[in-house]
Every structure is written in C-alpha cells, then in structure tokens.
C-alpha cells in the first residue's frame, strides 16, 4: 500500500487519475481505517488530503463559509461564527461518534462515505451546503444532496475529490437543527436522522428545507415535508402534516439497527421535535 500526501487538490486529483489500482482518499480515516481493519478494502494507494493547502481551514467568505475537506468535527465546534450561523450543521457533525472520532472525522469524509445514516449529511442538505469538487481537468460545485447515489456510492468520477464544503450566509431569521434517534445516548449509528432549516418572515415560515437520513438509500431532501410547514407558524396540525410527509417519504430497510416500521414511525416523531427547535432558533 502506498501513501502519498499531496500539497494541492490538483496534485491529489492527478494521483487519482493516474492510479491503475485501488486508490482511496484519507481525511480523518474514521471510515477508511475501519474498512482496512475489517478487510473490506485493500488499497494500493492512500492519498492523505490533510496536507493540501487550506484543507484544514474554516474560512468566512462574502458568500458564507468555506470548510476545508480536512477540518475535523472538533474544530467545527470551536468556530464561534459557524456555530452561530449554522448550529444544526455543527451539532449534526458533532454527533458523529465519540470525542476521539470528533478529533478526526470530517464533513467531506462523512459525505463521501455515503452511508445512508451519516449524521452530518441531512443537516448539510437542509442548510443548502455545496461540495466544491476538484478533478484532474475540471472543477465543479454540486449541492450536497446530489453527491451520494446509494449506500457507499457517490457521483464523483475516478479523478475527483471534494476540496471543501461551502455553506451560504444564513438569511435573517433563519434557524436550523438536527436530531437523530439512537438506542443509547452516544456511540450508535443513527436509526433515523432529521434536519430542518426554516427562514421566517413576520413570524411565519417563509421557506423551509427538510432532510431525512437513515430511511432511504441516501440522505434526502423532502420537498413535501417542507411544503407542509411553509406559511405556517408550526401549529399542531402543521406539525402533524410534517410528520406524515416525513414518514411517507421513508423507504428504509430492516436491519439490525431498526425495522422499516420503527424508522418510518420515528421519522415523523423526530421531525416534529426538530422543527420546533429550528423554529425557535429562527426567532419563532
């Protein structure tokens, strides 16, 4: 197994393009090294992205925030401005694993591992996050919800890597939140994850984005759930409509972490709870 630590995203892309064997990107390693240990992957080449310029930076830009692909969750938690603007994204990222995992795991890694249950992804989707992608010959930017195609599969080409995740500057009176259900208090993979982002105008929800995790092959935006609460002050029947829309959007699997029935049910339960938090954060 070869190990490279390129200093630019372009160089990393070139390495990916040129590799004839199995090449893997290494950010925090909290997924890759588990797969290595379990014998699920046998890389010929591991490309460590942590030495790429700006990969470890959180930058405030005129448009919002740029989070380098190598920024670990623990650093997200320390960034006051980011936490203030997007508390839902930060709290979702900070739910990934233990403090030890937080010392390493990244938004980009969480996204590209493409587990349907990834904690940070629904929150990123709800916040309107984008992935800045660098290839050997081109750059492109995609909405986060377009990255994962199925469990463990992304739309990235062989020579592409994510250089950063961008978050917009939140409009005034915007609030986002994320909740997940796990059987213990920590250390479990989400059985269901729900993220909600709302923007208010005159006390009512002007726009909303609702995303679900762990209830379909990928995390997904649920426009019908957003429609259920737009124009409302999140009254009880709006919440009920929201819950039903979320449950209706679920197509989960039965596995050791949850049954179809249980996940579908809980998607509705959590949606109500998390919508209230987002609404309160938005000033409602």
């Amino acid at each position: 197994m070869r190990y490279e630590k390129p200093t630019s995203a372009k160089k990393a892309a070139d390495l990916l393009a040129q590799e004839k064997g199995a090449a893997f990107l290494l950010a925090g390693g909290t997924d890759l090294l588990v797969k290595l240990k379990m014998g699920m992957v046998e890389p010929d080449l591991v490309i460590d992205i942590k030495h790429i310029a700006n990969a470890n930076e959180i930058q405030i830009t005129p448009k919002g925030f740029r989070v380098g692909a190598a920024v670990p969750g623990a650093r997200l938690a320390e960034h006051t401005a980011l936490k203030k603007a997007w508390p839902g994204v930060v709290e979702a990222a900070n739910l990934i694993g233990s403090d030890q995992i937080q010392g390493r795991c990244t938004l980009a890694g969480n996204l590209c591992n493409a587990s349907p249950a990834a904690d940070s992804v629904p929150a990123m989707i709800a916040a309107g996050a984008k992935a800045v992608i660098v290839g050997a010959k081109k750059r492109r930017t995609l909405a986060v919800e377009k990255i994962a195609l199925g469990p463990g599969q992304t739309c990235l080409e062989k020579d592409e890597l994510i250089e950063s995740i961008t978050l917009p500057k939140p409009a005034p009176r915007t609030g986002d939140a994320y909740l997940r259900f796990i059987p213990r208090t920590e250390m479990d993979i989400a059985v269901v994850g729900v993220a909600v982002c709302v923007t208010l105008a005159r006390g009512r929800i002007k726009s909303a984005r609702v995303a679900l995790g762990a209830v379909a092959p990928t995390a997904m935006l649920v426009p019908a759930a957003a429609r259920a609460i737009v124009g409302t002050r999140l009254e009880d029947d709006a919440l009920e409509k929201l819950a039903r829309a979320c449950s209706a959007a679920c197509s989960p699997i039965d596995d050791k972490r949850g049954t179809i029935e249980y996940r579908t049910r809980l998607a509705g339960v959590l949606a109500k709870r998390v919508a209230k938090i987002a609404f309160a954060r938005a000033g409602g």
């Binding site: 259900f181 059987p183 213990r184 208090t185 479990d188 050791k256 972490r257």
Partner: protein
Amino acid sequence: MAHDNRYVDKDYKVVGSRYTRPDGIDKVTGKARYGADASAPGGLVGRVLRSPHPHAKILKIDTAKAEKLQGVKAIITCTDLPDLTNGDQGMAHILENCMARGRALYDGHAVAAVAAVDEQIAAKALKLIDVKYKKLPHVTDVDDAMRPDAPVLHENMFTRGVEPTPTAPSNISARTQMGYGDVDAGFAEADVIVERSYKTEQTHQGYIEPHACLASVNPDGTAELWVTTQGHFSFRNVCATLLGLDMAKLKVTSSEIGGGFGGKTHVWAEPVALALSRKANRPVKLVMSREEVFRASGPTSSTSIDIKMGAKKDGTITAAVAEMRYQGGAFPGTWAMLGCMTAFACYDIRNNRSIGWDVVVNRPKVAAYRAPSAPMAAFAVESTIDVIAKEIGQSPIDVRLKNVAREGTQAPYGPTYGPIGIENTLEAVKSHPHMRAKLKKNQGRGVACGFWFNIGGQTCVDLNIGVDGTVNLNVGTVDVGGARSSMAMIAAEELGIAYDDVKVSIGDTASLGHNDTTEGSRGTFSSGMATIFAARDAIGVLKQRAASMWGIPLEDVEWQGGQAIATGDMHSNLPALTLKEIAAKAGRTGGPIAGHNEIVADGAGMGFASHICDVEVDPETGRSQVVRYTVVQDAGKAINPDYVEGQFQGAAAQGIGWALNEEYIYGDDGRLQNAGFLDYRIPVCSDMPFIDTQILEVPNPNHPYGIRGVGETSIVPPLGAVGNAIADATGVRMTHAPMSPPRVLSALDARDAG
C-alpha cells in the same frame, strides 16, 4: 495443621478500611502487562480461520497454497490436535470447540490456524486456505431447536432426565427438575394465579481485553504459556491434557486480566497457539480480534421461560412453577439446571417446582457470565412477582418481604439456609431515601432481588517473611477485582503488621499447588481463607523462634499486635519481640520463616441483593433511560469497601446493559450480525447515572472473617428491576429482554390499542 474456619466476631485493625490497591500504579501508568503485551524473540503471529457457516460438514481443508507462502511457519487443523481425551466427554467438547473436527457447528467455529512471521502474511495465508464445506440446515433459536423437525447437531444426543430415554437423537441434552411441596395443592389455595412467558436474548461478558496468549513449546515437552485468564491452573490442566504434555512441564503465567466475568474461565485460542508453536518450533502470539471474541468465545445462553405463580390475597405465594429452556451453544451445558437452582432462591415458597431444559443450537459454546443463568430466571420471577403484587393490590416490596427466605428456609435445590441477608436487604431498600424520591413525568420505579451461591474450592498460598520483616504473599487465584489489596489486608490483619509491609503476587503454575479458577465469587473468600491459615502457620513459626530466642517454653509465648509476648510471671521482664526483630535473626534460629496453606475452601456463603431502579421512558420512541439506581447487597464482611462497591456497581451496569440494549442478533442465515462494540451495545458513560451502594454485613458463619463472595450477585436483579420500573412508568409489562426501544414502543402501542 488443621485450622478452624468458623466466623469469630472481632475488631479489625486493617480489614474493612479503604486501602489503595498495589497494582494501581502500574495500571495508571500503562506499565501493567496484559495478555497481548508480551513478546518473545522469534515470535510468530497466530491467526485462526473460521467457518462462515452456522452448520456444515467440512469435506476438505487444502492448505497447500498457504504452506508455500513465504513467511508461513506452521498451519494446523484438527489433525494436529489428536484426541487424547480418553473418553472424557467434557474435554472432547472443549477440544472440538477449539478446532473443528470434520464439522462446523457455528458461524465463527475455528477450522484451521496459521503461524507466520507477521500479521500481513498470516492474514494472506488464511485467505489461501481452501475449505470445502457442505452446508447443513441450522437452528439458532432455543425453542426452534426443541421442535421435532429441528436440524439435529449431535447424532449421539439422547435427552437425559426423561423417562423413558428417547430413541431418537435431538438437541435437548437434558431435563432437570427440582423443588419441593405440592404445587397443585398450592395453586388450589391461591386467590390469584398469574402465568407469563419470557424471553431473554444472548449476551456476552463484553470484557474490553480480547483473548490473547503467547505460547512457546519446546521439543523436550516443556512449554510456557503467558495468557489472560481467570484460572491459569485450570488452563494448564486443560491445555496439557489436550496437547499430551505433562502438567508440571507446562508453566502457565497469568498476565494482568482485562476483564473476564466468567468468559476467561475456558480455553479457546490457547490450545491452538500451543499446537502452532509445537509445529513451528517457535513462540506464537495469538490475539483474538473483537469480532472473533463475539463470534467465537463463550457468550451466555438465550432463554425462553414460563412462570406460573399463585398467591393469596394476604400476599403469601402458595405455589410457583418455572419451566425454563436455555441454549448452551453447540455443545451441552448445565445452564438450565443452574437456572432452576436460582429461580426461587430468594423466597420461601412452600410448593415450588423448577424444570430446566438444556438445549444445543448452532451458536458458540456458552460460557459462564457472572452468576450464570440467574439473571434470566430472575427477570422472569421478579417480573411475575410484581404482576402478582399488582393483582392483589400490595406493594412489590411487601410481597417480597412476606415470602422472603430466612435462616432455616429450604432452598429450592435442597440445602437449608444458614444466616442469610435477603430480608435485611429488602428492609434496607424499604427504608432507603431512594424510595421516597419524587418521580417525574414518564418515570417509574422498580425493585428486584437476586441471589448467587458463591463457591469455595481448591486454594493454595505461600507466605514468606523476609529478613527485614516485610512479607511476600504468593496466591494462585487471579486478581480480577482488587483481591491483591484484600489479601494484603488480611495477611496484615492476621500478622498484626502494616498493610504496606505485605506484597502480594499471583504465582505461576510452577510455583504453587493447584488453585481453582477465579469464578463463583470465590477469589477473596477462598484465597482470603487460605491467607488467614497461612498467616496463622507463620505465626506458629514466629512464636517458636521467639521462644528459642528467649529460651522459654513455647506455651509461654503469645502473638499480639505484630509481636511475640512472653506471658506468665517468670518472664514478665522480657521485652516483646517484633516480627521484624524475629525475622532479622531467622538465619540463626532455624532458617527462612514461612507459612503455607492448601485447602478446599468450604462453606461459601450465599450472596443476596435487592436493587431499586428509576427509569424514564420516552413514550414516542420507547427509549428508556436509567435515571437513578441503588444496590443493597450483603457482603458478609467487606474487606475493602471500595472494591466491594466496585463489584456492586460493575455488576449492576452489566445487568442494565442486558436489560436495555445488549443482544446477539442472528440472521436467517445463522450468521451473527453484530460482532462488534458498535452494534453490540454495552452501556457507555453517558447512559449511566451514579450507582448508589449500601453494603450490609451478615457474617458468613463458615469463614473466620464472615466473608461472602460479592462479585456476582448484583448482575441478577437489574433485568427485573428495569422491567418493573418500565411497568411502573408506562403500565406495560415487558417480557422480552433486552427491553430495547422498538420492543417497548410496540408494547406501548399494544397498550394503547387494547
């Protein structure tokens, strides 16, 4: 020299205090060495190839390609472990469990092993071994395995304990029955009768340190084994037998143990490591991965239990019947029998009967887990008692007190109880401030009791006094919970010297006679007793030396407060001789001063406990959180209260994990799906509240200090306590453990629908 083991009430100078443990410094600095922390020059890495099928014939194992791989030094299969068990069926099962013999009996069953120069080559070699399997139908559920159409694991298994003996083989190894009285008459007297069925899923001891050993076999038949174990003498005996070595020539040293709880009382990897070393003629280090620990060591039974209980309106339980089915994994065990012994042991029920069915399934061979078989039976019994209490409108504590076992009660399995502490623990619970704390919305409170026998067993210690008066105590029971501190305290107490003047070590198998495994809560009880007697032996020698130094008769010498005192008017002018002074002159008064003891420690006391659990249930998700927990347990005599509390708390936490989230999940394909700490969910720090403890001391009359074993009892009540708390919070009676969120939500839905 025979010693008197009867309890004597006295004031203690050392015992009963909180001394810091001698192995603490090494453990907090990372110096302590566990099973995987040893290495040897030229050592090889051992790895095991395991069956991916729950039940299969092994048609062929082709190791040719693997043998050719550069760096592979030995490959073994069952042919390298010939059957030397000589008709001992128990040994034969251990042998077959360590290495499959023509058939794979569970997902994870070892079929071959390699020793190679490094990890990567060993892993590669495993992949090159070609095994041809013929898959057979499998069964993993205990009830399914009892059906007449179930696939049969052992063609020579004809159920024992049924009349007439069956003519066709089955998966039922034995039926046991015990109890006394007339249950039919008892039910006829009852005002209410409750019948419930319960299921508990399989759990694992969950020790954080995987099995690990370093084996080195020499061509002359001598060998060494460094291993994490609860019983190095037992391991020596088993490994020597399986490998055809003389026991005295196999030196087994126990490393520090990173948790066992019964799961390290048996061998799995060790005979394999020895066989690899023998073949390669080099030391072999074999460490199980976490996945292997779950798939291929010794979890508990999963069970299916029916309880029928009848009671009068005044709370008297007039009859109780338990019918219990326990699976022992792929080889027969006596787990159901143990369940029968414990099910009603906390109570005086005049008409009781327990029937146990021991069953085999295609799962790993079950091993003991802290009070084996008792937690499942207690879940069923303690839950049912609460149902009875509700039916007759009495408090759960009062119903238990009404029927509590006392001195003179006959245990369901036969013997009559001496002085026991169950009533004391219930009274303590009743008056505990926890019972008066206010519960919040969605919260409920449950109480439950538990029992464990505790055992004695073969024990051997050496006590040697150095010329500076400091003492070496060599014991043979592995220290799993702080016993080195307790032994030092006991030796210091007996000799009348300071705790810091005693250094305890765990001797290897070459330096002491046989010591039984540290299990059955016997460590402090047995080694403690042997230490007391060894110290008294040494005191006998010290007195003789003092007599000779003074030139007076031995009968005029007494030992008090760490000194020899000359008694009688004729010697009153002689100043006392301290232990240090006598030791300094030992070379001239007869040589090294020592005490020694070998006993079969007898008269282990029973350990009883009552627990209080507060739980908060989220009604929309079914998720339960334990918000407060109290353990009250009778320790007989707490040598070091810190370590006694630690046992109470650790056992309770394991029981809580068992009650809420821990279970083995098998697919329809018979494969284990959650062989890791991610999806086998033991409690994490944030899941738990502080665990309050209260130590009661009802002295065990058969131990000089009144010690009862404490390590196991408190894993028994939590399943019942949590179930009763959930019932109090929600009105639903959970009958399937673990009481995980989906199960609780389902039960809440049924409540709302019905």
